[in-house]
């Protein structure tokens, strides 16, 4: 099939999926399923940002749940007792998440991977402790009710579309980032720091920027999450949640956008489809993570791709390098670039 038609087919398929997803509140069976779909979207807002950090730049942040709780509490406090307009509160939540990302990332991103991972874990524990200790601010153990958004986003459907909007924005943004030089820089940082440094990539600045960005998305996701849950307590934001975010990315495949998106959807929906699975969910996340790391570190998406290709009997194609030798020789001789 000629390339142009292939792209068109792809575009049509993509548009169809988009339409289906946007119209979800209408064809979904009941508000419970709408709730799960909204939850997937909310998680994706955070995971989409975290994907740049963990999937592309390779910085293992297991404590991102702390930034989620910062966003949730910020939104609950500002839009609730302080009466801010919800849109403003969401922006503030995102900004606060980004600020916390900066505070956490600045000292710890220059450290080796394990140190950084432990620092994020420790920071998420601190945030949990502070949420509990500062009773007057956060309600302590009793927690806080989280207000909804302004109309038209107040209803369950409205909230879903708001989530869809923001998730779409995050997806579009990260997809563009990864297509350009930034994306290559991130992958270089992940796979070979020394080579990246040698080619002039400012390692710390790159990592810090994506980490702060992931803080912003986590803050926004926190606000959405809180509104969806309608009530938050410190118990809601446990370490296992940070692990869950992480597993979604790894299972989906590092270095891909659609992979983690599918991973998020599947892993969120799975415990809902089968009640016994909910009980074993943390155990299964560990097993899945281990299996993926050992067998398919590129993620299940890639594994599917290669197995489908192998079944079809396609040989792995490589892009042939086919330079115009005469032109190249002439350029070398004359000393100019063509």
């Amino acid at each position: 099939m000629p390339p142009a038609a292939d792209t068109t087919r792809r575009r049509i398929a993509f548009g169809g999926v988009l339409l289906l997803v946007a119209a979800l509140p209408f064809w979904v069976r009941n508000p419970y399923q709408l709730h799960i779909a909204s939850l997937i979207g909310v998680y994706w807002v955070l995971i989409g940002g975290l994907n740049l950090v963990a999937g592309y730049a390779g910085a293992i942040s297991v404590g991102h749940v702390g930034l989620l709780s910062v966003g949730a509490y910020a939104f609950a406090i500002l839009a609730g007792p302080h009466g801010w307009h919800p849109a403003l509160a969401v922006l503030a939540a995102g900004a606060l998440g980004g600020l916390c990302g900066l505070l956490i990332g600045l000292p710890s991103l220059r450290l080796p991977g394990f140190y950084f991972a432990m620092s994020t874990l420790a920071c998420s524990l601190i945030i949990g402790e502070l949420a509990l200790a500062k009773q007057n601010l956060t309600g302590g153990g009793v927690g806080l009710a989280v207000p909804g958004f302004a109309a038209p986003f107040r209803s369950a459907r409205g909230l879903y579309w708001l989530v869809l909007l923001l998730a779409g924005a995050v997806t579009w943004f990260t997809w563009n980032v990864t297509r350009r030089m930034w994306g290559r820089a991130l992958i270089a940082v992940r796979d070979s720091v020394i080579a990246a440094q040698a080619t002039g990539v400012p390692i710390l600045r790159v990592k810090l920027t994506v980490f702060v960005f992931s803080g912003v998305t986590a803050g926004v996701a926190g606000a959405l999450f809180g509104s969806l849950q309608s009530y938050i307590t410190p118990d809601t934001f446990v370490f296992e949640m940070g692990l869950f975010f992480f597993v979604c990315i790894i299972i989906g495949g590092r270095g891909s956008i659609i992979g983690p998106l599918i991973g998020t959807a599947v892993l969120t929906a799975l415990p809902e489809l089968s009640a016994p699975l909910a009980r074993l969910s943390n155990f299964l996340y560990g097993v899945l993570l281990l299996v993926v790391v050992l067998i398919a570190p590129e993620g299940i998406g890639r594994l599917l791709e290669t197995s489908i290709a192998r079944i079809r009997g396609q040989r792995p194609t490589s892009l042939p390098v086919d330079p115009d030798l005469r032109r190249l020789a002439a350029a070398i001789r004359s000393g100019h670039s063509p």
């Binding site: 009773q135 309608s230 992979g259 489809l273 489908i308």
Partner: protein, 399 residues
């Protein structure tokens, strides 16, 4: 970067959507012989599971008993159980699933305050009646959650009974309050402190301690140095309570402990260094779960124990029996509401429960009102002696 693995990706997306799409739900039976679906949100696994498992036994037994007697007006009860894994997010998801997919007419639970805080607004928004089992005072509100009714006591009732015993019976004045750093422990300790202050007593020592802290001798030493003459611990964590009791015993400090029922929980007997450490320890308990001076149980408690004993396994009951009785009562309360309302219409159920006065249960007697959603009356609470545990029930503390 191209939209990689879009074909396999699309396939997976469609698979997930397909799973969420219309599942096979029950087709409409003849309406009057349709079973009554009751949702049960319980944390059967996870850190808070001990009480939930015991309550579950009571709930399931009550449902079986009612069904064996023919159900309610010929309609059988169908219990739809969901294990919330002690996680508020799972609890919210399952609450919505129960309401929208399983189409239950009433929800019992969740069992813990942490989960209840999250699910009660969600259930209330859909107008589904909710019988709740968390003790945190804020859970119940006749205006915000008109269809949420609570049969279990409130934290306030435990706190007031314990305070009364410590201050008026034991005649102590210098109180040391210890709480753990979980949501429940911290908020209960705070409530206990303000209850004391309302009576004009300021605690001489007050601390929130991480529940995994390995040794509490420091804190108790500080309490002793501050002149405390009674320790009042407020926590739902058995390990934490055990460490308090152990530290007091190891120090040889003969000060009474009066506090949360967990301090007299059965597992503590194995966690304390010496059985004598449990002397001089008292906790809030229930008149229905207390032996009288002749060692006899109240009649209703004895009846339930005998009926349900085959299901509880061999040997003596090694956990607090009131959990079982509470579970049993929640279903009986639901049955009473459905019978009085003549059906499962939510507004009628609400009215039926509001009109309930002196409904006799095993665990307690319940009464509600148009503005009253806490059904457990103060007089049902007594103070028990921790080391008197036998077969799920205690003896009263000396007065």
């Amino acid at each position: 970067m191209k939209l990689r693995c879009d074909r396999s990706g699309l396939g997976v997306i469609f698979a997930v959507m397909g799973a969420l799409l219309p599942n096979l739900s029950t087709t409409a039976w003849a309406k009057d012989k349709e079973s009554i679906r009751i949702g049960w949100l319980s944390s059967l696994t996870g850190p808070q599971s001990t009480s939930a498992i015991a309550e579950n036994k009571g709930v399931e037994f009550a449902v079986d008993e009612i069904n064996r007697a023919g159900g309610i007006n010929g309609r059988k009860l169908e219990l739809v159980t969901r294990d919330t894994v002690s996680d508020p997010k799972t609890a919210v998801n399952f609450a919505k699933q129960l309401i929208f997919e399983e189409k239950v007419v009433l929800i019992i639970g969740p069992v813990n305050s942490g989960e209840s805080l999250a699910t009660i607004p969600v259930v209330a928004k859909e107008g589904i009646p909710n019988i709740i089992i968390g003790t945190v005072d804020e859970l119940v509100d006749a205006d915000k959650y008109p269809r949420a009714f609570r049969p279990i006591n409130t934290n306030r009732q435990w706190i007031e009974a314990a305070n009364d015993y410590a201050l008026n019976v034991l005649r102590r004045k210098n109180v040391a309050i210890l709480g753990d750093t979980t949501g429940y422990g911290a908020s209960t300790a705070k409530a206990a402190t303000s209850a004391l202050e309302k009576q004009g007593i300021k605690p001489v020592y007050s601390a929130l301690i991480d529940q995994n802290k390995t040794d509490l001798t420091d804190e108790l030493n500080k309490a002793r140095a501050a002149g405390a003459d009674v320790i009042m611990p407020w926590s739902g964590n058995t390990g934490f309570m055990a460490r308090i009791v152990n530290a007091r015993g190891d120090m040889g400090w003969s000060v009474p402990i009066v506090g949360h029922p967990t301090v007299m929980a059965a597992p503590l007997r194995k966690l304390v260094n010496k059985p004598t450490y449990l002397d001089n320890t008292f906790a809030a308990g229930y008149s229905s779960m207390t032996y009288d001076d002749k060692g006899r149980l109240p009649a209703t408690t004895k009846t339930l124990q005998e009926k349900i004993r085959p299901r509880l396994g061999d040997g003596e009951i090694a956990y607090s029996f009131w959990w079982v009785a509470l579970g049993y009562d929640t279903v009986k309360l639901a049955e009473h509401a459905i019978r009085s309302a003549g059906g499962t219409d939510p507004a009628a159920l609400q009215k039926a429960l509001e009109d309930t006065r002196n409904f006799p249960g095993v665990y307690a007697t319940y009464g509600y009102g148009p503005k009253e959603r806490n059904g457990f009356s103060d007089k049902n609470i007594v103070i028990n002696q921790a080391n008197s545990f036998k077969d799920g029930v205690y003896r009263a503390a000396p007065r």
